[in-house]
């Protein structure tokens, strides 16, 4: 603990967002620093590297106008922390945790480091409580459970925001009495999308906390906003016992920000220029979802990833898929057929579904129905390839039936523009569909 403020005017180099300060006494790695420009503009920064008494710091804002000589740097002796209090609920902040809803800042109950500490695997509880999202294709075939992280893999032009809005509006938790809160982190969002989401959030009956970094705001804040959001989520879940759903959109902007910052730091680029530590960095966000044994709350995560060039093997969706417990993949083809939500069932997956469904949580026959629907639909999709070669007339009647089933499955089960379905309605829709085609449910 330092007793006095440490202020330096000894900047030696400025390169992009990086400043090198000399003759610094006892700096800490990750320490928060305030940089004051000659015009008196204050900016946050963080210590990245220390070599003897030379310190490399990274400025979170725009470094335009800084100079060597007059610009001063003040060291705070503390790593970056988030202010926490229950009064957060209902508030909107920017990527530096300053209120943007023209209300004053609240008085924090405590401050917690935003990087969080890893959850002890021995303390984790197995996620197994069903969340009803109201979408058949999620509830029936790729069930979401409390404490899971399930990303939405979208492409440019697909209605991922309508899907997320639908989940926010319609989600119901099994088990009563718990408070349900949405923590929303928008990274690099356009104003158009931002206003769409704000309308949805303000209509919600349950509470929300929002962190908004719009497309023209500092890139560095895109790395901070999700960490603020998750620190708030952990606080509400594990100290206040709430069920928290964290929505982060769009992780592609996060990863691009990571790449931009990494290049500025002159680090070695990895695949497609993204830094080699991107897996660990993404894991430090995604792994904060979960439940703790013997505690009431939970953190569930629904990140949105826009796949560049619609390519699922691109590093961003690829590394995400390796960390998260499944994925919901949207398809442009279904979207063009006016199917909403346009979820492609075949590559979608929920790894934690097995424990969350069945007797006691959804319905006893859930697993059977879901396996059969998947199986028949997969066969129907195979038949489409065959149809392209031999034509419909060249196929047997049995094959034609599978073909028609696949169409009806997309049109009636996946598609539900009409609104939310309960899990019972979802399963019944599936059963009646299979019955109509007289398909055996084994």
């Amino acid at each position: 603990m330092r007793l006095s403020e440490h202020r330096y005017n000894t900047i030696s180099t400025i390169a992009g967002p990086l400043l090198f300060v000399q003759k610094v006494f006892s700096a800490r790695i990750g320490e928060v620093v305030t940089v004051t420009s000659p015009d008196g503009v204050m900016m946050d920064a963080e210590v990245l590297e220390i070599e003897g008494d030379t310190v490399m710091i990274e400025v979170f804002g725009e470094t335009r106008g800084l100079d060597i000589g007059k610009t001063s740097v003040c060291f705070t002796d503390s790593v970056s922390k988030a202010p926490l209090s229950q009064e957060l609920i209902g508030r909107i902040f920017n990527g530096s945790f300053r209120p943007v809803d023209s209300m004053p800042m609240f008085i924090p109950e405590k401050w917690t480091p935003i990087t969080g500490s890893p959850m002890n695997p021995a303390a984790r509880a197995r996620p197994e409580e069903f969340i009803e999202t109201g979408f058949s294709v999620i509830d029936g075939l790729n069930t979401l459970v409390k404490g899971q992280k399930l990303p939405v893999f979208s492409s440019a032009g697909l209605p991922s925001k309508e899907l997320v809005a639908g989940v926010l509006k319609n989600s119901r938790l099994s088990g009563k009495g718990n408070t349900f809160i949405v923590v929303f982190a928008a990274l690099g969002l356009s104003f158009h999308e931002y206003s769409y989401y704000m309308r949805v959030l303000e209509d919600m009956k349950t509470g929300f906390v929002a962190f908004i970094n719009s497309a023209d705001e500092p890139v560095m804040e895109r790395l901070l906003a999700p960490r603020f959001a998750l620190t708030v989520a952990e606080y509400l879940a594990f100290e206040k016992g709430m069920d928290v759903l964290v929505v982060i959109t769009d992780m592609t902007n996060y990863c691009d920000a990571l790449r931009e910052i990494s290049t500025a730091r002159q680090e070695l680029p990895g695949r497609r220029g993204y830094p080699g530590y991107m897996y660990s960095d993404l894991a430090s966000l995604y792994e904060r979802a979960g439940r703790v044994r013997g505690m009431k709350g939970s953190v569930t995560m629904l990140p949105v990833v826009t796949m560049p060039e619609d390519d699922i093997t691109h590093p961003i969706p690829d590394l995400t898929g390796y960390i998260t417990e499944g994925q919901i993949v949207l398809s442009g083809k279904l979207h063009r057929l006016n199917i909403f939500p346009p979820v492609d069932v075949l590559p979608s997956l929920s790894r934690l579904m097995q424990k969350g469904i069945g007797k006691g949580s959804t319905r006893e026959d859930h697993r059977k129905i879901s396996n059969n629907l998947y199986k028949y639909y997969a066969r129907g999709r195979d038949m489409r390839r065959l149809e392209a070669i031999v034509g419909r007339d060249g196929m047997t009647e049995k094959d034609r039936k599978m073909l028609d089933f696949a169409d009806s499955f997309e049109g009636e089960f996946v598609n539900q523009s009409a609104g939310r379905r309960t899990i019972a309605e979802t399963l019944d829709t599936g059963v009646s569909l299979m019955k109509r085609f007289s398909l055996e449910i084994r």
């Binding site: 700096a27 800490r28 590297e49 070599e51 002890n120 984790r124």
Partner: protein, 543 residues
Amino acid sequence: MVIGRILGISGPTVSTDLKGLRLYERVSVGQSMLTGEVVRLEHDRAVVQVYEDTRGLAVGEPIKGTGLPLSVRLGPGLLAGMFDGLQRPLKQLKEEMGPFITPGREMYGLDYQKRWVFSPMIKSGAETGPGEILGSVEEGSFRHFLFCGPDSRGRVSQIREGAFSLEEPLGEYEGGREILGCHEWPVRSQRPYRKKFPPSGPLVTGQRSIDFLFPIARGGTAIFPGGFGTGKTVLEQSIAKFADVDVVVYVGCGERGNEMAEMIEEFEDLKDPWTGRRLMERTILVVNTSNMPVAAREASIYTAVTMAEYYRDMGYHVLLLADSLSRWAEALREISSSLEEMPGEEGYPTYLASRLSGFLERAGVVETLGGRIGSLTMVLSVSPPGGDFTEPVTQACLRTTGAFLMLDTALAQSRHFPAINWGQSYSLYACELGGHYREKVSPEWEILQKRCREILQKEEALREVSEIVGAEGLQDIDRLLMLIAEKIRTGFLSQNAYSEDAFSPPRDTCGLISRIFQFYDRALEKIKQGISFEEASQTEDQV
């Protein structure tokens, strides 16, 4: 003790002016006493890699050397345990610091207070050498042999019997040196043995596609690479549940925390199909999830393999499972780049392949120093980015591993699990183990295996034809072959990990495939007699 100061910090690496350090010595870093390891020595400074989060560390904070390399403690009490990459017991950590792990807490992997009942197997006056068995304790329902440490030798002057804790000596050598029930071993050095043998005898996994088509030998190594969603983790866990070995060491290296939670709960309930004991009693878990510090992830596989070797040295058959080796390699890459080393392919350090083969060569069947036969088998998963098998980690593994079980995204999407691609996987142990199964299970084993491969191969060719001309356009014999191949794929090769069928002993495996071929032979006979395909396959179905 000499105390040095921190000179510089960059990510997980710290430089110090501390003198007298040795390469790979364990050091304690900063006021919060984080664990680190010396990775580079220069004339006026040393570079230390820190195993915990360095956030908040300041220049000028103290650094102390311990004089010892990074080691694990070996003794009774490891089984059913759950450790992080530095062998800190996670359950005790949870009790002390709650559900989140905060850095700077040293804790031993063994419980030094717990009392064990020791029954000696030697008499006082006996001459003992390294690795010689002194006696045993009951570790759960498991017989844990205590043996002389690899560097102790001498005549035993006194040996005790009865309850003791790990702090108390079991007896004395002549000259007054104490005999202890536990010892330390540096994780990066292989434990010594008398002689090594080539892998031999099957390691039954209970997975039909592995045991029948691509068998794994005791003392061998196998990798299965696969993109995300291809079921690597489920397969690893199934093997951990059903493999016929004495001890299983499972490393969750840079993987998901929720999956580990699931596994722990399951292993507490399930029983070992071979002995009927609780599964957890034969399992050691080393867990370093993806959000835990990267440097500890790199150390975790060494921690695990050292514990596995320790049980091997008692004359047991040990299986080491790691999920996933790619995360280990990525940790290596992160550390290498923070040391500013020259990168090789895809940014991995150029010593990736040699480190990997050094690790893989710790598997094998050995005659221990005490003269027993033990084995260590490794089954490792690899997560190639984008499902591309030409990447450096998969390729480096292929040079030293004996079995390559390729997990296929297309198979996984058609919900065929385990999604092992039968066209491209291979096992170098197949020939040798075929003979074993022929003797022990069925004289037909190898013949059936050969026929099975042929059918799957032919189906591949036929499928292309049938996609053009339609199934009806094929000859009856070929249609029958397609039908049989489908039966093999859906009824034999695929196995639901969440059902009764998850474990299939070799006898059942053989029974199932020979029934399919009996059906094939009968139907084939009928078709040759002129009966149509529909009829031949229909009538048989009813039988």
